[in-house]
Symmetry: D2
C-alpha cells in the first residue's frame, strides 16, 4: 500500500482527497495535517467522516512527513509548498502540489500574477504539469507534480485539440467560466456566506484572474504560439461544478464531423473525458462527484465561430480527483483506481 | 385611474405585473385573464395575493377587453398577440405586448428564428420597440409597444453607448448571458424541476437562441451597420436575475475614464440605469426585485478587449418592470411611478 | 417627518430597516451607525443602495443620536442596548430595541438564558413588548419598545388565540420551527457559508434556544398559567422565511369551524395576519418580503391534537417590518404606512 | 453474479439503484424498464450514465423479466407491484418492492390511507418489511421484501430502541419530518418546479400523510401496543436528505448516559447507523449520498421530554441504498457490499 500524507486536509479539496483515498485499494492515508485544526479529531471538522476516519489532525512537519509517506498532497494556499520544498524531501517522497506554486514555468509570470515572491524557483523546471491527458508520460517519471487549477483544467482540456490542430484563431479565444462556490474554499468570509451567494451571480477577477497565465501557457504549448486570451470567472449559487463556455474564430470552414473527429483522435482512449453528441450541451449535474469532464461544441456558421463547452466537478477533475489520477500514474496503478465514481444525480 | 387588463396573468411575468400594478397610484387592474386558470380565483393560483387580489381569472376576450380598459398587457406565448390584434382593438386601447411578436422589424427574420408564421405583419411597422432609454419619444406616441425580451434588454443597454459611439468592433462582439430560472416560465416541465436545476448550470440554445436577432437588430441601429454576434444563454440555479458578460475588441485605445464618460453621456439622466464605479462588477442580488440595471466594465490592455457587464432582474427591467415603465410613458405619468422599489437583499 | 436613527445598520435587519424607511412617507433616516463599517459609505456595504442612500456609516454616539432623532432602532447584539440606555436618552427620543434586552420581564430568566448580566434592569418594567397585534394600546404610549424575536413572533401569534381561549392543553405544546439563514446574521462564520448551508438542514439549540422563555412568557400571559414548552429551531437553505409547526392537545372536541372562529375573533381586523382557508398550509414563499403572517391549522381527530402552522418573513414581520409597525403606532401613523409591500414571488 | 432487473428505472430512485449497482461487485443489471421512456437509451434520460450504461429502456414484461433475473426491484407507483405479482413470478425470482404495496399488514389500513384497492392481498402476509436493522433474519429468508418508505425508515429507526425498551410514552410521540425535493419524484409538476421550491418551505399532508400508518405499525410492534402518533412532513429546498425531529415524553427520569446505552445496545453492530455524541445534532449534509443514518438526542429536563433527531439520505437509506442492503441480505452477501460510499461533502 502506498502511504499518503495530506497537508491542508481540512479544506474542501483536502476533504475530497480523504473521501477518495478511503476507498482507494492501493493507498492508505497515514498523515492528515491542518494548521487551523491541529490536534482536533478530523471527524469533528468533517462529521461525514464520523466512524470512518479516526485520525487526529497533525501539525505540518514536512521533514517528518517525508520520512513516513510515499507521496504528499499539498492542498494549501499559494506559496506554502514553495516555502518548504527541498531536495531532501523530494529524494524521499513524491509530491503532488495542488497549489499554483509549480504550475507556471516562467517565475516572473508567477510572481506578477500571484503577487508573491517564489521561494523555490529552482524546482520549477523539474515540476511536471499534472494534466494527465496531456502529460501522461512525464507524470509517470516525475517526483514533483503541479496539479492544475480547476478553471484551467476545464478550459485547457476543452480547447486543447483545436489549438493543437490549428483549427482556431488563438487571438480570438475567449473563455467565460462559471464555478460553484466550493472553489472559494472553507474560509469564513462574508462574500461566501449563504445569503450572499444564494440567489446571486457575478463575475469577478475580470481580466486579472490568476488562472489566466496558466491557461495561456498550456494552450501556447498546444498551439505553438504565444497565446493571449480573455478569461472571466463567475461565481454561481451551487456547491460544485465548473462550466466553461469558450468562443473562438474558426481558421477555416470545418464541419461538425471534422471537429468531432479531432476530439476523438485526441481523447478517444481517455477514461475521464466524455465527448457528447453534436449539439448536446454539457451540464455540471451530469458529472457531479465524478472525475469526468464532459465536452460539447457548436459551430455557428453566421459568425464563423465555434462555441466549446466543458463541464466537470471542480473538486474532482478540477482538484482532488485529478490529483489521485496523477498519484495513480506516479505509482503505476490503473489510472482510474479509486476514481470509478458514477456521477451522482440529483 | 388608467384601467388595465393583463392577458396571461398567471405566468411569472403576469404575476409580477399584478404585484407592480397593485401599488401603482395611477392605474388599476380591471381584468386578469388566464387560459389555464380561467374561472379560478387569482389568489388560489398565487396565494401571495390572498386578501390582496379578489379577482377571478377570466377567459381571453380581446374585443370585450378592449372596450373595458385603457391598456392591455399581453404576457403570452409567441404568436398569440399577433393572432388577435386588429385596428378595432388598437383604436380603443393601448397594447403593450411582452411577447416577441412585434419586436423584430423584418418579418422573415421573425418567422425564421421563431419558426411560426406571423399572423399580423401589417402592424409590425407601427410597433415601437419598448426600450424606454432608447426610444422614449416614440413610445410616448405609440399605440402598440413591443416590450423587449429579458436577455435583450440587459444585452442591448449594456453595449449600446459603445456601439453608438463606434468604440468597439461590432464583428467581435460576444455576449455570454446567465439567467435565473423564472425566465423559463411556470409550465410544468422536467427540465425546470427543482432537482434538475438546483446544483446545476448549463448553456442552452447555443448559436440559435431567439433573442439573438433582436439584439442584433437594435445594436445594428446603434452602430449603423449590420451586426452579427454570438449570444449564449445559460440557466442558473436561482429564481431571478440576468447577468450579461459581453466581450468586444476596442477600435482604439480608450481609457476607463473615457469609456465611463460615454456611458455617463448616454445614461446619466436615466433613473433605472446605475453606472458602477470602475472595476466594480455588477451582481444580480444588488438589483433583485427592482427595475434597476447595473452596468460595469473592465478594459483588458493585454487583449485590447473591453469586458462589459450588466445585471438586472429578469422579471422587472427584463419584463414586467419595463412594461410598467412603458405604460408610464404612454400615459404621461412619471417614468418611475410604481417602480420606486428598492432592491431587496438578501 | 419623523427623524430616524438606525444603530447596527449594516446587519441584515439593519439593511431591511433602511429598505423600508426609504419608502416610508412620514419618516426619514438621519443617522446610520455601524461599528464594523464606520466611515464607510453605506452603499459600498450594501450596493443595492447605490445611488439611493448617500450616507456614510457613523460611529455609535447615543447621546448625540438622541439629540438628533425622534426614534432610534437598535439592531444590535444582545446586551448592547442595555449598556447605553438611560433616562436622559429616553426623555429625548423613542427607542425600538430589536435585541432581546427588554423582552423578558424577569431579569433572572434573561440572565440565565442569555448568559450575560443585564446592565439596565431598571428599564425592563417600562418596556413594552412590541407585538402590535397583542399590545397595541401600550405600544402607542411607550417610550421603549422591545421588538419581539423572529421565531417568537411567528410562534406566539400562531398559538395565541387558542391559548387565550383555553382550547389547548399548554403542557402539551411543542413548537418545531424552521428558519432561513438570514436569521443567523451577516457575520463571517464557517457554519453559515454557502457550501455548509446549501443542500443541508439541521436542528440547533435543542431544548436551549433563547427564544424559548420569550415564547413561554407571552403565551403564559395569554393562557394565564405558567407555560413550559418544547421549542426546536432548524436552519434551512433559504435566505428568508420562518415556518412554525406547532402541536398541542385539544382540551375538548372542537370543529374546524369553531377553531377558525376563534382566530377570526382575534385577528379579523389585523392587516398583517392572514387566516388561510381550512386545510391550506402556509408557505414561506407566499409572504416573502412582506409583513404578513399566514396562519393555517389542521385538526387530527386520531390523536386529538391540533397542528398549527405559521409562515412569515423573518426579516419583515420577524424583525424590521414589525419594528416599523411599532414605529407607526408610536407616532400615530397608519399601522401599515411603509409596509404595504405585496409578497414578492418567485 | 446476481442478475438484476429494475422496473421504474427512470425515476430518481431507479436512477440511484442504477448508480449503486454499477459498482456492486456481485450483481449486474440485466434489465432496465421504464414505461415513460421505453425504447430510449437510458443515458439520454440520465446523461450522467453516458458511456457507463449502454442499455435501452425496456417495456415492463414481468413474466419475461422473472425468467431472466434473480431479483427484481420495483421503483414504481403505489398499486403497480400488487397488480402483477403472482406465485409464478415469486417462484422464479426475488422481489424487492420499493412502493408501499406490501408494507402494511392490515389491508384495510392500506386501502384507507392510499385510497386504492389492493390487487394482491394474498401476498401481504408473506412479505417481509425490509428494515434490515430490525428484521434481518426474516429478510434473509424472504422472497418478497417490502422496502420501507423514506420518512418511515428515518422515523422508525430513530425512535425504535426507546419504544422497544418502554422508555417513552408512545401516546405523546410527535414526528416532525423535513425532506429534500427528490422525494417528490421526477414527474413534471408545478409544485416541484425550481422557482416554487427554491426559497420556500411548507408542511404538507398534515395529519394525513401515507407514511403515518407504516410508522405506527412498526413502532407498535416495538412498543407492543397500538400506537397513534402525529406525523408532519415538510418540503425543503434541497435535493436530498431527510431530517426527523421527534418529541416524546419520558416515562421516567433517564440520563443521557442511560439513553445512549439503549441506543448502543440496539445499534452498536449496525454498519449504517451512527450514534452521535450527546448533544450533537445530525445534519443531512453529513450523510449525503451514503447509506448512513445519523442519530442524536437531547433530554429536556424542563419538559421531561426527549427530542430525537435522525438524518439520512432519502434516496439511499431511505430508498435505493436500503433496497441494495436488502438484496445483500437476500443473497448472503456482505451487508455493505456496494454501499461503502463515504458521505460526500460539500
Amino acid at each position: 500500500m502506498v502511504k499518503v500524507g495530506i497537508v491542508g486536509a481540512t479544506g474542501y479539496t483536502g476533504g475530497e482527497l480523504v473521501r477518495l483515498l478511503i476507498n482507494h485499494t492501493k493507498a492508505e492515508i497515514k498523515w492528515l495535517s491542518s494548521r487551523s485544526y491541529a490536534s482536533k479529531k478530523y471527524a469533528t471538522v468533517y462529521p461525514n467522516m464520523f466512524e470512518i476516519v479516526d485520525a487526529v489532525c497533525l501539525e505540518d512537519n514536512m521533514s517528518e512527513l517525508a520520512e513516513q509517506v510515499d507521496v504528499i498532497f499539498t492542498a494549501t494556499p499559494q506559496g506554502y509548498c514553495a516555502s518548504f520544498i527541498k531536495e531532501e524531501i523530494l529524494s524521499k517522497t513524491k509530491l503532488i502540489d495542488l497549489s499554483a506554486d509549480f504550475r507556471i514555468k516562467d517565475v516572473h509570470v508567477y510572481e506578477k500574477w500571484y503577487g508573491i515572491k517564489h521561494q523555490s524557483p529552482q524546482f520549477i523546471a523539474e515540476a511536471v504539469y499534472g494534466l494527465s491527458e496531456i502529460n501522461r508520460a512525464q507524470i509517470q517519471e516525475a517526483r514533483l507534480v503541479a496539479n492544475p487549477g480547476c478553471y484551467t483544467t476545464c478550459s485547457i482540456l476543452s480547447v486543447y485539440p483545436l489549438a493543437k490542430e490549428g483549427l482556431i484563431d488563438m487571438s480570438t479565444l475567449i473563455i467565460d467560466a462559471k464555478s460553484g462556490t466550493s472553489g472559494a474554499g472553507r474560509g469564513a468570509k462574508i462574500d461566501t456566506l449563504f445569503c450572499e451567494v444564494n440567489e446571486n451571480s457575478k463575475a469577478y477577477g475580470v481580466a486579472s484572474h490568476r488562472h489566466t497565465p496558466e491557461i495561456e501557457e498550456q494552450l501556447g504549448y498546444a498551439a505553438n504560439e504565444k497565446v493571449r486570451l480573455s478569461f472571466t470567472p463567475h461565481l454561481l449559487p451551487m456547491n460544485r461544478g465548473i462550466l466553461v463556455t469558450a468562443y473562438a474564430g474558426l481558421k477555416k470552414d470545418a464541419t461538425a464531423v471534422e471537429i468531432a473527429k479531432v476530439y476523438q483522435d485526441h481523447y478517444k482512449e481517455e477514461k475521464f473525458i466524455r465527448l457528447l453528441d453534436y449539439g448536446v450541451c454539457p451540464e455540471t449535474k451530469w458529472v457531479a462527484r465524478s472525475n469526468y469532464l464532459d465536452i460539447g461544441f457548436k459551430i455557428d456558421p453566421r459568425t464563423k465561430r465555434i462555441i466549446l463547452m466543458g463541464a466537470m466537478d471542480n473538486l474532482m477533475k478540477g482538484a482532488a480527483g485529478q490529483a489521485v489520477q496523477n498519484m495513480n500514474l506516479l505509482f503505476g496503478f490503473e489510472e482510474d483506481e479509486g476514481l470509478r465514481l458514477v456521477p451522482s444525480f440529483p
